[in-house]
């Protein structure tokens, strides 16, 4: 199972990378996550997850876009691979299936 399994934070970050399309690098992922998921995550944790996802083959990376603000240092841009997208879809469908099996959820919340 290792390789295809996505942890919760991994899934969130992979999703964010996919949604950011060509603009995904560690800092933008962090900002986006803080905005959408309303949780603060330390940058080192994001680095750690991004590199792990790359090792698993869910992300690929390329260099580019040095700016003055970064002291002229390069960014590592990430993009989701096909395998990554597939893993996301897989995770989603698993969840949806389980959601369906919860009885009376709709009435309980009304």
């Amino acid at each position: 199972m290792k390789g295809t399994y996505l942890g919760e934070l991994e899934e969130l970050i992979l999703l964010t990378v996919a949604s950011l399309d060509t603009e995904a690098y560690a800092v933008s992922v962090k900002t986006e996550l803080e905005k959408n998921a309303r949780r603060k995550i330390n940058i080192s944790a994001i680095h750690s997850v991004l590199y792990r996802l790359e090792d698993k083959g869910f992300l690929k990376s390329s260099f580019g876009g040095a700016t003055q603000k970064r002291g002229g240092k390069m960014k590592r841009y990430f993009r989701a691979t096909n395998a990554g997208l597939a893993a996301l879809k897989e995770a989603r469908s698993v969840r949806e299936q389980i959601w369906k099996t919860i009885p009376k959820l709709a009435t309980a919340h009304r």
Binding site: N42, I43, S44, H47, Y51, F63, K69, G71, K73, M74
Partner: protein, 868 residues
């Protein structure tokens, strides 16, 4: 540029990440840094930057240093520890002992500071205390008049609950199907008590457990002992002391966590509604309040003078007293000063502080020892360091090597310390009256703290030697010109002096504390506490009505010298009032004083002396209505030193139309309760029934037989009651439990500190002699005498020792005075207490120097010189 990220952070980042990732990661961090710089300012941005860098350590797999390198470091560290095996063992033993003892102390401090903190609403719960000034006699009571709780709750809406709690001696006997069981943790309380002091209910329901009169809630293990089961809802149990049947409405789980008012059984307040008092004086009831969410205690406390004037002033005016109502957070109670009528004895903040200091010192000593020994080895490690440098080792790597050595050592010691602490747990428990067992001891939290502590010590102890050892100039050393730098020497001297200083301080400190404890225990109390037996006389019972018959019967025995009935206990302070007193000239004044009701044989029985006038005489008609005795303290305070027998007691209130009673005698001051407090002024009345205590003076021979005789007589007179007795000297001894505990803890831990300090000093002495072997050899060859050599080696240590001991005198003096402030009577600070540690230090240092030096001095000089 000025507002770049902190240099330290950037440097650390360069150390951590490999080149593949350094650029992008530092770029990302910088970007965030500049964002924060704009939004939060430089300070926050820098701190967060460093935090980000440090958290980056989680990306271990991208580290610059690869795992093989770390493995190599560990291997090297092992080898070097093995090479200097004796030093390593010395170090590990010292460190493990320090950590183990520091850890145990930490557990004790935790226990002492944990009181009442576990109650969910603890930060909003306060106890109401009452400070009174009865004509100059000031007291602070932990309990208050009974109507106060209800009045508070009715007057101030911010008080959510104000349950009353009464203790009634805290003991109670319960009977179920012929089986009797006694508890010492009994309270009578309003239902709201369960909201403040929340407990887990095994059976029954929190909301209605105490709402019906006659209900009782009992602790789970008490229920198990009495009923054999916890399934006891609705069962009826007989409350022996008040002869009442109670219905069990709840079973609460035992809670081992600490509280200043431990509770095992709660009886519904309304059960004894007829005993309720509407007096605004006395009536020992504890009042607790739960404030609303706003929790504004300061605002409430401001209202208290007005509250006092409205409710209590009238009563206090009658007694000529003043008072002040104030609040105390329940979590503060245990370590604060003990008030009058505290439910349980308190801990002591000073003692907890002193023991925390001892724990810190233990750790400090371990670190000092390590630094000392490690830097002392500089010379022998210089060659190794130089060769590494020549082979291309970076300074960072050398640091890593030395730090990994100290880490390895510290972590090994940490593991050992845990076993050591575990092995000592039973002794520790008996020393501190704590009840810790392996399951509470080996928790993840504790394991983690020990690991963290060990790592911290390892780092702390490793940093200086790492810096010092790695800085030796490689070329010079390899050429054979190594000079031990003076910096290390000065540091070592400083550290050794500190150790001597602290050892001296501790030894004198212990001696002085021991002196004081001994002093208060053996002080002349003004009465004879030996061979004095106190028998409980329960009130409102057959015993109370016929106790005089019993007393007269046992008095017939030749073993019993005298016996007396009293309404007081020698180990507890008496009640105080502000009586009206009449001078010789007929003028009347009020002044605070303790009252004591005793029979005519009391003074003879306890062995107190009458210094002026006479004792009560039962043959005189109406003696109890006409006469009182006072003690010397009262004579002084009332201003009657010149002619105490001219004074009169004129009653408690102006409405008291009883004719004034003459002072017929003055009793030499005797201590009631602890011996280190000032003797209170006391007025002694001749009692006429209602006594609670039978005091019996035996001749001290065949105590066992005498007791058996008393017991038999008791059974004959009161077959339904048990004779509950105690020895007065033992009751008094128990008052000093806190001081005893403190002394034994202090002694035990200081012995450990001294052991560790001596390990360090022995290590250093042996090392110094070792490193001067050649010097000694050369001196010998050149004709120096044995005494000469000893003198040269001893000089250095003796100088440090003397400096340290001299410095320790004022420091000890100051610290011990702080502690002694708790006592009104103090032992003299004796010079012996300062001379003893000096002697011990000299003896100890002298012996170890003599041993090592003799070895060096007796060795054949050729052995030492031939290796060059």
């Amino acid at each position: 540029m000025d507002n770049q990220p902190p240099r330290f952070g950037r440097w650390l980042l360069r150390c951590i990440y490999d080149d593949d990732h350094l650029d992008e990661v530092s770029g990302d961090l910088e970007e965030i840094y500049y964002d924060r710089l704009q939004s939060h300012g430089r300070w926050i941005a820098s701190i967060s930057y460093i935090k980000d860098v440090i958290l980056s350590i989680r990306n271990l797999h991208l580290f610059r240093i690869n795992p093989a390198m770390i493995q190599n470091l560990v291997t090297i560290a092992f080898r070097s520890l093995k090479k200097r095996l004796s030093y390593s063992i010395l170090n590990i033993a010292g460190l493990a002992t320090s950590i183990a003892f520091a850890f145990l102390l930490w557990l004790y401090v935790q226990d002492q500071t944990s009181y009442d903190k576990h109650f969910p609403l603890a930060d909003r719960i306060y106890r109401v205390n009452l400070e009174t000034d009865m004509g100059g006699k000031q007291d602070i009571y932990a309990n208050v008049p009974q109507p106060l709780s209800l009045a508070l709750k009715a007057t101030y809406p911010q008080i959510e609950e104000a349950p009353r709690i009464a203790l009634a001696d805290r003991t109670g006997t319960f009977e179920y199907h012929e089986k009797e069981l006694k508890t010492t943790k009994l309270i009578f309380a309003d239902p709201a008590v369960l909201k403040l002091f929340q407990r887990e209910f095994i059976e029954g329901n929190v909301s209605n457990a105490l709402s019906v009169p006659g209900s009782v809630v009992i602790g789970s293990s008490f229920a198990m002992d009495l009923f054999g089961t916890n399934d006891v809802l609705g069962k009826v149990v007989h409350f022996v002391d008040f002869d009442k049947d109670l219905k069990v409405t709840g079973v609460i789980a035992d809670d081992p966590r600490r509280s200043h008012i431990p509770i095992e059984i709660i009886i519904a307040w309304d059960t004894f509604k007829e005993l309720e008092s509407d007096q605004w004086y006395g009536a020992h009831t504890y009042a607790y309040v739960l404030l609303n969410e706003e929790n504004d205690i300061a605002a409430l406390e401001q209202q208290m003078p007005a509250f006092f004037d409205r409710f209590l002033k009238k009563t206090f005016d009658e007694f000529g007293g003043k008072g002040r109502v104030f609040f105390q957070r329940i979590t503060d109670i245990h370590l604060s000063e003990e008030l009058v009528w505290e439910p349980t004895p308190h801990g002591s903040k000073t003692n907890v502080l002193a023991l925390s200091m001892v724990a810190l010192l233990l750790i400090g000593f371990a670190v000092i020892n390590y630094v000392n020994l490690a830097t002392a080895q500089a010379a022998s490690r210089a060659t190794e360091v130089s060769i590494r440098k020549t082979m291309g080792s970076s300074k960072q790597l050398l640091w890593a090597q030395f730090i990994s050595e100290s880490l390895l050592l510290a972590i090994t010691a940490g593991g050992l310390s845990l076993l050591l602490a575990w092995a000592m747990l039973p002794y520790f428990n008996s020393l501190t009256a704590m009840d810790l067992h392996a399951p509470q001891f080996f928790t993840v939290f504790h394991l983690r703290s020990i690991l963290l502590l060990a790592t911290g010590i390892g780092l702390l102890a490793g940093i200086f030697p790492a810096f010092y050892l790695s800085s030796s100039p490689a070329v010079d050393v390899l050429k054979g010109r190594f000079v031990v730098s003076s910096g290390g020497e000065i540091l070592r001297k400083g550290l050794v002096t500190t150790q001597y200083f602290i050892v001296a301080l501790l030894i004198s400190g212990i001696l002085l504390v021991y002196n004081q404890v001994n002093f208060i225990k053996t002080r002349d109390l003004g009465f004879n506490k030996q061979n004095l037996i106190s028998i409980k006389v329960s009130t409102d019972s057959v015993v109370n009505n016929h106790i005089d018959v019993y007393m007269n019967e046992i008095k017939a025995s030749s073993k019993i010298l005298s016996a007396s009935l009293a309404q007081m206990h020698l180990e507890a302070e008496s009640n105080s009032f502000s009586p009206r007193l009449q001078n010789e000239d007929g003028s009347i004044f009020q002044m605070g004083s303790d009252l004591m009701f005793v029979d005519a044989d009391f003074l003879t029985t306890i062995g107190a002396q009458v210094v002026a006038g006479r004792n009560f005489d039962r043959r005189i008609l109406n003696e109890s209505d006409r006469s009182v005795l006072i003690n010397e303290a009262a004579a002084r305070k009332f201003g009657w030193e010149k002619n105490p027998l001219g004074g009169k007691f004129a009653g408690f209130t102006p409405e008291d139309h009883h004719a004034p009673r003459n002072v017929i005698g003055v009793v030499k001051d005797f201590h009631v309760g602890v011996s280190y407090q000032m003797v209170h002024p006391i007025i002694i009345f001749l009692s006429g029934g209602g006594e609670t205590n039978l005091l019996v003076r035996t001749d001290g021979s065949e105590t066992k037989e005498t007791l058996a005789m008393m017991e038999t007589a008791w059974q004959k007179h009161f077959p339904d009651y048990k004779m509950e007795y105690s020895f007065v000297d033992m009751d008094l001894e128990a008052l000093y439990n806190r001081e005893d505990n403190f002394l034994s803890l202090l002694t035990c831990f200081c012995v450990v500190i001294m052991l560790i300090a001596s390990l360090g000093i022995i290590g250093l002495i042996s090392y110094t002699t070792e490193s001067r072997k050649r010097e000694i050899a050369i001196r010998k060859v050149l004709g120096s005498s044995f005494q000469n050599i000893i003198a040269i080696l001893t000089k250095k240590f003796m100088a440090l020792l003397i400096i340290a001991n001299v410095l320790a005198v004022p420091a000890t003096w100051w610290l011990v005075r702080l502690w002694l402030d708790n006592f009104a009577y103090r032992a003299e600070l004796s010079p012996t207490a300062f001379a003893v540690p000096f002697g011990i230090c000299i003896l100890f240092t002298g012996l170890s120097i003599a041993y090592h030096t003799t070895r060096a001095a007796l060795a054949n000089p050729v052995e030492a010189l031939k290796c060059e």
